[in-house]
Symmetry: C2
Subunit: 313 residues, 2 copies
Amino acid sequence: MFVGIDVGGTNLKAGLVTPQGEMVAVAKKPVTPFTAPEDFVSQLVALTLDVCAQKDVDPATLDYVGMGIPGAVKAGEITYTCNLPLQGVPVESLFRQTIDVPVLLENDANCAAVGEYLLGAGRGTTDFAIITLGTGVGGGFIIGGKLHSGGGMVGEVGHMVIEKDGALCGCGRHGCWETYSSATGLIRLTKEAMDAHPQSALHAMAKEQGGVSGRTAFDTALTGDAVAVALCQTYVDYLACGATNLCSILQPEMLAVGGGVADAPSHLLMEPLASQVESSCYASNVGTPTRIVKAQLGNDAGILGAALLKQVL
Amino acid sequence: MFVGIDVGGTNLKAGLVTPQGEMVAVAKKPVTPFTAPEDFVSQLVALTLDVCAQKDVDPATLDYVGMGIPGAVKAGEITYTCNLPLQGVPVESLFRQTIDVPVLLENDANCAAVGEYLLGAGRGTTDFAIITLGTGVGGGFIIGGKLHSGGGMVGEVGHMVIEKDGALCGCGRHGCWETYSSATGLIRLTKEAMDAHPQSALHAMAKEQGGVSGRTAFDTALTGDAVAVALCQTYVDYLACGATNLCSILQPEMLAVGGGVADAPSHLLMEPLASQVESSCYASNVGTPTRIVKAQLGNDAGILGAALLKQVL
């Protein structure tokens, strides 16, 4: 049996997973503020004990515990993370002081890629990629059936510049893909459209929804509002630009799109996106464009991927 | 023993290569115009016989013949090429009618990546990338010690859009990296600078050199001409933009830069390029930026890589 833990900036989620990929127990808790790294790791230990107890599994018999970290990792340590004060923390050795089983650390987007590859949209492929549209744009690649990890720093696709000298990104570069195509980017584009079009129904929708979110543009477009429809097209254009780049560079058989934004109505997001990428990526020249699909596992992808990491190493 | 053949749009070059990667015989000829694919393949046969004869090697005893093709390949066939009328040609079966040894087909940029990885700049790395600055911008990736081929369509890095809605590219998209960063792109940027600055020394240099080439900007910058110096900086900016993208997406340990343009004076090209990419790629956050270096093998990279393909499959 395996435990997978998805370490988020605000929540920790663990799952007890069978070798067949079935999640038979789940536990979740908000991150309790901490100063000492030991206090953080003890939260991971508590979650592991929780899911094991639910199924009467002795934690010492786990094959390993896999953890998806929002950052970079190396040899059981977190080497970089921007959302939690964990840089340089030797997670594996601290964890094993209580539960002495192997700990595998991996970047969280890479874990999601593994989950979707083994159990979701990517089943049956050999070269698979995922992008996740959230606060930023994350990415993960399976190449030749193996995770291309690079210590979790591979797949920083959100920081691919698609508009040289464009909007400033948090990373310091200008025109990064995620400044346009993340949920955050979509909210920015939505606010800009609202400023430019005071008559648009976007205003009423935002008010009704309690503020502008990644849903506002799509929900308003469904009412037929022309500004919102054009805004959705603009968003898809940016998204397709970066996705096409990825496909031309790596030519995966399939690119899955995850994250909350991917739940937008298909005819406004996934259908035009797939159509644009499949017709403009370079491999369309040989009739083998990358298939563009929606990810299937939602938030479970990261836990499942963390739990089954060893299958793709 | 192995034979590697570099199939170019205008020249064919073959080398007889030892298992240690020593090229012990070379033959080269221009592509003779042909209509029947058999006539093209017979030119490849002739070159193979030539290099074998130089060293009294019986062609039937070759381990295999590797060929770098400017296009996409699959199972012994050329599936796509834009510079030679070879689409759909079953090269392997035609070749084996005369010399019955295995034939390995691969994209030419991928062969160059293999050559540099095994024998040139990339020795000692595990994750290695190369870009070649020529008519276009080509790319090839070694991931985990294996060529990431995808039938030769992987690594179409030149068609990564870095300036959305920018200059029109031959592929139909706008703002592709190679419209700025190929030798062709550099010539275009040079001509634009000349049009904008009639007083620049670029004009005299172009006249002296018999026309604008990929060297004009650098040679003029060496004389201190301010317009040429700024032009070289602009070119490096574009080149660094795409190279940084690649590094953030794939995080190779090393990115080698090949092609004629890479021979420009180091302080005008490779030094500022390396400095920009190494400081702005995402992995600089963890202190492990990709090393940016000049490729070492020149035109031999493709022949050597084709000959030694099996080592990275």
